[in-house]
């Protein structure tokens, strides 16, 4: 039988068929607007040798995955982001999750801890223990990890402006547990630039903030060789409403700024680059998301090699954590969320994630209850052990559609990165509100599409039906705030005030000097200075940042 070209197929077969019965909607597109073809064939990849442009797993440029064995060697780390009420309550939840087969910890801190206010600060009112665990002093950190040896677990901490304080506490706690800090394994998010774009937990202006980021790079390079010094995050940018392309472009542009800052400090790129990690969202469009993860890996590998002259393959590996899309969860018919999360988690696994958080079905209402978080963890376990998708490396590799989308996302993101370069880099663009404005436009467009019903959300704008309320939502007792303030006051009575004052003075002195601040942070937390006191000392030195408000 003679072989038809795609063009001939369109003319001879597709078009007559469409005349008889048209497609079910006027067009199909990715989140970033790129049109999806009715069919992908080898012709869509003409001039490209996927095997060459992707590399083999574990080989530069890592398009097919960063490890030669991927999940055949070791499954991704199952890491549920968690923390609420108090250190004691959160400790119980962590131990429960570990008993249920979770393989790493992920600490959610409450907003006062993230923004550098103690639990008794007027601005902390109502927020203590709400979206995470309140940590005022090293005593709280001790309670948080009660019975959890730090050399036996890897711990990811979603902490940015106050990252050096919480990392200092983790180091101090390891010392108290008699654990060699060189063996500590985990991550500090430490990504302040995306806080200015989305999420909003910055404290200080960008310049001193970037200095603190780099201090962590340098200190960990010398003392905590297994620590992921940063988790450069697209998650929150996507949650704020960006497209998939914007998510990877803005994240990698931030990554470029961090690498540049560290090189400007005098660090050698191959000494710190392998400890950089990333964090992405897994949203609804399964194949677009798979392509996004692969495109991000390809882009980063080339950025590190071509732009920064990295020599070690490890420096070029984009290792990433994934969380399913919180913004896709619906309050309507909430049990549908279990299915959404499963598809999103599948995208993350097919995209080659190193660790994964699956959201709970009740999160359009509250932080998750135990039953909901257990279902979320089981979803990962079913994917890992039952679905078979973890049994071969990059199983979608070679799919014409996935390879086409990977290429298209990579090119579109590269154009955005060029645009940010031409605006003077990520920070200069943020200060002018470029990324924020782009994200806002996308989020508004998304909302309009939902309301015009051109984007279907099951249970929200189609298949709407009455649904029963979720029973047993997690509620944080308002008493927890009072109890936390009592604990804080007790620590303040017991500690040595001279020691605290001297440690804070020392921190200010070091902050004004070019020296690395990490040892000074450790001294402060060991004296039981509070997160608020430490941040106030730095506010005095660095000043505070107002919102780069774009509306």
């Amino acid at each position: 039988m003679p072989r038809k070209s795609k063009e001939e197929w369109v003319k001879d077969v597709l078009e007559p068929a469409l005349k008889r019965s048209p497609e079910r909607q006027p067009g199909f597109s990715l989140t970033s607007g790129t049109e999806i073809q009715p069919l992908y064939t080898g012709e869509d990849l003409q001039g490209i040798d996927p095997e060459e442009s992707l590399g083999y797993p574990g080989d530069y440029p890592f398009g097919r995955g960063i490890q030669p064995t991927m999940y055949r060697g070791r499954l991704w780390t199952m890491r549920q982001y968690s923390g609420f009420a108090s250190a004691g309550e959160s400790n119980r939840r962590y131990r429960y999750l570990l008993e249920q087969g979770q393989t790493g910890l992920s600490i959610a801190f409450d907003l006062p801890t993230q923004i550098g206010y103690d639990s008794d600060h007027p601005l902390a009112r109502g927020e203590v223990g709400k979206v995470g665990v309140p940590i005022d002093t090293l005593r709280d950190m001790e309670a948080l990890f009660q019975g959890i040896p730090l050399d036996r677990v890897s711990t990811s901490m979603t902490i940015n402006a106050t990252a050096p304080v919480l990392l200092a506490m983790y180091i101090a706690l390891a010392r108290r547990q008699g654990v060699d800090v060189a063996r500590l394994d985990g991550t500090t998010q430490n990504d302040i630039l995306k806080e200015y774009i989305a999420r909003g937990t910055y404290i200080f202006p960008p310049e001193p903030s970037l200095r603190l980021t780099t201090d962590i790079f340098e200190y960990c390079g010398q003392n905590l060789p297994r620590w992921n010094t940063i988790s450069i995050s697209g998650y929150h940018i996507r949650e704020a409403g960006s497209t998939a392309v914007q998510e990877i472009a803005f994240t990698l542009a931030n990554g470029i700024a961090y690498v540049r800052a560290a090189i400007d400090r005098g660090l050698n790129v191959d000494d710190f680059a392998s400890r950089l990690s990333f964090f992405f969202d897994a949203h609804n469009n399964l194949l677009e998301e798979v392509a996004k993860f692969r495109a991000a890996r390809l882009l980063w590998a080339k950025i590190m090699k071509e732009r920064f002259g990295a020599g070690e393959p490890r420096s070029c590996m984009l290792r990433f954590h994934t969380q399913t899309a919180g913004c896709s969860l619906t309050a309507q018919q909430p049990y549908n969320n279990i299915v959404r999360v499963a598809f999103q988690a599948l995208a993350a696994v097919l995209g080659g994630t190193q660790s994964l958080h699956t959201n709970s079905y009740d999160e359009a209402y509250a932080t998750p209850a135990e039953e909901a978080v257990t279902t979320a963890l089981r979803t990962q376990q079913i994917l890992a052990y039952e679905s078979g998708v973890a049994d071969s490396v990059d199983p979608l590799g070679g799919s014409w559609m996935v390879e086409s989308l990977t290429r298209s996302l990579e090119e579109a993101a590269r154009r955005y990165i060029d645009e940010i370069d031409s605006r003077g880099g990520a920070l200069a663009a943020i200060e002018k509100g470029f990324q924020q404005r782009e994200v806002q436009e996308s989020s508004y467009r998304y909302q309009k599409e939902v309301e015009a019903e051109s984007r279907v959300i099951v249970g929200v704008n189609k298949f709407v039906a009455p649904y029963s309320k979720i029973e047993g939502l997690l509620r944080v007792n308002p008493e927890e705030e009072k109890k936390q303030v009592d604990r804080l006051n007790r620590v303040k009575e017991e500690r040595d005030p001279d020691d605290v004052a001297a440690s804070l003075e020392n921190l200010k002195k070091i902050a004004r000097s070019p020296e690395n601040t990490m040892p000074a942070f450790i001294r402060c937390v060991e004296a039981c200075a509070t997160v608020g006191e430490i941040c106030d000392a730095l506010r005095e030195v660095f000043g505070v940042q107002k919102e780069f408000l774009i509306f």
């Binding site: 993230q114 709400k130 508004y444 939502l473």
Partner: protein, 133 residues
């Protein structure tokens, strides 16, 4: 003289930085012909009431996704009363458990919009509330 355009203050009380919803709603209200002032994030109830007073708004829309809504929204309503601004209509949205809605309505919040509420519904609810006063 009756004013033509409805004036709305969209505000983010507390430390929550999730402003996607607030910004989308603010823009939808503006597109619907209202005059919209958006405060930005990290506002204290006191700051919000102060801005509402200065801007002479008809409506305040509060957004909070951190779970601190009971404390923060009540304080805004309290402070409005103290300033003699009890006639300013207060609406709210965010991650709010359904069980909290009656309590919020009891303290005087006129409408609560949860996740998934269309902006068209929010626009018409605000128009109706303002007409009703």
């Amino acid at each position: 003289m009756s004013r033509k355009k409805i004036r709305v203050l969209v505000a983010k009380p507390g430390l929550d930085g999730h402003d996607r919803g607030a910004k989308v709603v603010a823009r939808a209200l503006r597109d619907a012909g209202m005059e919209v002032i958006y405060t930005g994030i990290r506002q204290t109830p006191e700051m919000i009431v102060q801005t509402a007073l200065q801007e002479d708004v008809d409506v305040i829309g509060l957004s909070c996704l951190s779970g601190a809504h009971m404390e923060l929204f009540s304080e805004v309503v309290e402070r409005l009363k103290q300033k003699g601004m009890g006639s300013v209509l207060v609406a709210a949205g965010g991650i709010i458990p359904e069980d909290d809605i009656p309590a919020l309505e009891k303290i005087g919040i006129k409408a609560v919009f949860g996740s998934g509420a269309p902006t068209t519904e929010i626009v018409s609810a605000i128009e109706k509330l303002v007409k009703g006063t």
